[in-house]
């Protein structure tokens, strides 16, 4: 067993950026271990993605044809099983994304590969591959190994590795597609309805609220505060889930990315991985939270331990 296999992800005909990050991780590991890097893509016409995957450090691109281009868990599971059988990698890197959640665990549970999810550190030592992930709500790091496993499958946290930018010249090969009769059927994609005209990705200044607001009636005063400050009002998942603000205002993995944001004020947001995925790149993050141990303080530039209502009211006097 040798080599590193990366399985790319695409949606609506486009490769997702996390694919490049996984290749970045694999190429760095190749430099450390000498293991060749192979990148696979599964789809209705997988060759269309091959050109964009010809990156520096990649040795081979593998295509697997599928009956549909959209993700299906059983097609992906069977295809990755076929890829592992064909190339016998010692390490398989999958993105830790919604699609992967649907097929990685069934694959490894059946086949007995080493397995860890949401990994942000990978190394190899005398015990074989070693992965680092977080535990207890991101408060500790956990190093796991995989004794006796010839192949280890890791799902890698988006944003954890830098993508490869330079082009390379890998060979391309097709791997025979396994026959699968999917028991679920992709009917289509939807964007949520009922969005107001808010533009989270385009906003330079966002004031976001989280669970700390407590109840729906309290949302209005933060809307007013955001308006007075000249900020766009954003929120974390629980606020959107409760219907207190539209989904279009949700910042994070399943919401919007604060792509243009330069100043982000997080009020009453403890900072889940999913929320931070949408804003941790922002240059100036200010967090206001009653809990001095809140995760958000680990990525914020400025922190205020305090009551968001009190701070909010005082802040109004200055704006």
């Amino acid at each position: 067993m040798s080599g590193i296999l990366v399985v790319g992800e695409h949606r609506k005909g486009e490769l997702r950026p996390v694919t490049g990050e996984l290749i970045g991780a694999a190429v760095a590991l190749k430099a450390a271990t000498g293991e060749p890097v192979r990148v696979a893509v599964i789809g209705e016409a997988p060759e269309r993605y091959a050109e964009a995957l010809k990156l520096e450090g990649v040795d081979e691109i593998l295509t697997v044809q599928a009956v549909v281009d959209a993700f299906d868990p059983e097609i992906y599971e069977a295809s990755v099983r076929a890829l592992i059988a064909a190339r016998e990698p010692s390490l398989v890197l999958l993105p830790h994304t919604i699609d992967t959640l649907g097929y990685a665990a069934p694959l490894v549970a059946g086949d007995g590969h080493g397995f860890a999810t949401d990994v942000f550190g990978i190394a190899r030592d005398a015990d074989g591959w070693v992965a680092t992930r977080a535990g207890y709500g991101q408060k500790v790091n956990v190093e796991v190994d995989f004794p006796g496993r010839e192949t280890v499958v890791l799902t890698v946290r988006p944003g954890a590795y830098k993508p490869v930018e330079n082009a390379g010249a890998p060979s391309v090969a097709a791997i025979a597609a396994p026959t699968v009769t999917p028991r679920s059927q992709h009917l289509g994609f939807e964007e949520p309805a009922g969005s107001d005209d808010v533009d989270i990705p385009g906003s330079e200044f966002i004031l976001s609220i989280g669970r700390g607001v407590g109840e729906e009636d309290n949302v209005e005063q933060f809307k007013e505060l955001a308006d007075a400050a000249g900020a766009t009002l954003g929120c974390s998942r629980p606020i959107a889930d409760s219907g207190w603000l539209p989904k279009a205002r949700q910042v994070g993995q399943s919401g919007k990315t604060a792509a243009s944001c330069k100043l982000y004020i997080a009020m009453g947001i403890s900072g889940s991985v999913q929320h931070m995925a949408g804003m941790k790149h922002v240059d100036t993050i200010v967090a206001v939270n009653t809990d001095p141990e809140a995760s958000i303080f680990t990525i914020a530039r400025y922190g205020v331990v305090g009551d968001i209502f009190e701070i909010g009211q005082e802040l109004r006097n200055h704006l």
């Binding site: 868990p73 649907g102 059927q185 400025y302 205020v304």
Partner: protein
């Protein structure tokens, strides 16, 4: 028909905590326990079907893998209306990873033969996001992960699910049943237990099983059935915000200054 809801007792860290002597976990004295946040939604979804049209005959069974203390979480589910609660445990299961747990739950599901299985997308403590889907794989059942909406008529051969993807997109999927679904936060609004429900749940039996009684071979139990091993747990060096001290008025004044600097006014 029967819906199996698999739940987990999660652990969070006390403000101060110590790593266990072997360096592989936190000393259990410093752990606080609760029902996994996602599991409130899974149970609610089962109750929603049970209380909805054609749901009269639905039996909602909650199950978990864990020691005695886990009964507390099962009772929370009984208090909200679950019909039966099952706990599987033996000391060997202490060393299970998520896949090790899924093997136990799959063995239980074979015995219970439910028409639908609901699990949370992930648990709030270790966030593997693997148990529910691994169980589906082991059972050979159709599956969908991260379901944010479900339409199902009790007894139906298919269900319509809306999978929540990244960036606010959803995928609509029709899936054959029986199926295993992992359910996302926000799929419904979980109820609170009534005082009466809580009192009654305290008296209800919890069925206790062990892996042997489920017919599990020894090479599937605990560490042997797991696919990873914790080597070390440690507190990482983390960045720390520059803390703005003072009274709320002083803190707000500094915050206002940061805003004005951003606006180019200061």
């Amino acid at each position: 028909m029967k819906i199996l809801v698999t739940i987990k007792q999660v652990s969070s860290l006390d403000e101060d905590f110590e790593i266990r002597e072997d360096g592989r976990d936190v000393d259990p004295d410093f752990l606080l326990h609760d029902l996994n946040e996602w599991d409130n939604y899974s149970l609610e979804e089962a109750m929603r079907l049970k209380e909805g049209p054609g749901g009269d005959g639905i039996e909602v069974v909650v199950a978990t893998v864990g020691p005695d203390s886990t009964d507390e979480e099962l009772r929370k589910c009984l208090a909200k209306g679950a019909d039966r609660a099952i706990r599987v445990w033996s000391d060997e299961l202490e060393e299970c990873d998520a896949i090790g747990v899924s093997r136990v739950l799959a063995a239980l599901a074979r015995k219970e033969a439910p028409d639908l299985i609901f699990a949370g997308v992930q648990a709030s403590d270790h966030a593997f996001g693997a148990t529910g889907m691994a169980m589906a794989g082991l059972l050979g059942l159709p599956h969908a992960a991260v379901v944010a909406a479900l339409e199902y008529e009790p007894g139906g051969k298919t269900a319509m699910v809306r999978r929540e993807l990244e960036g606010g997109t959803y995928a609509s999927v029709r899936i054959d049943c029986p199926a295993v679904l992992t359910l996302q936060l926000g799929i419904n609004t979980p109820r609170y237990a009534s005082l009466r429900g809580i009192k009654q749940a305290a008296q209800r039996p919890i069925e206790l099983l062990d892996p042997a009684s489920l017919g599990m071979p020894s090479d599937e139990i605990g560490a042997a059935g797991s696919l990873s091993r914790v080597r070390r747990m440690y507190v990482p060096e983390k960045g720390r915000a520059q803390m703005i001290a003072g009274t709320p008025a002083e803190q707000a004044a500094r915050l206002a200054q940061i805003i004005k600097e951003f606006r180019g006014e200061a």
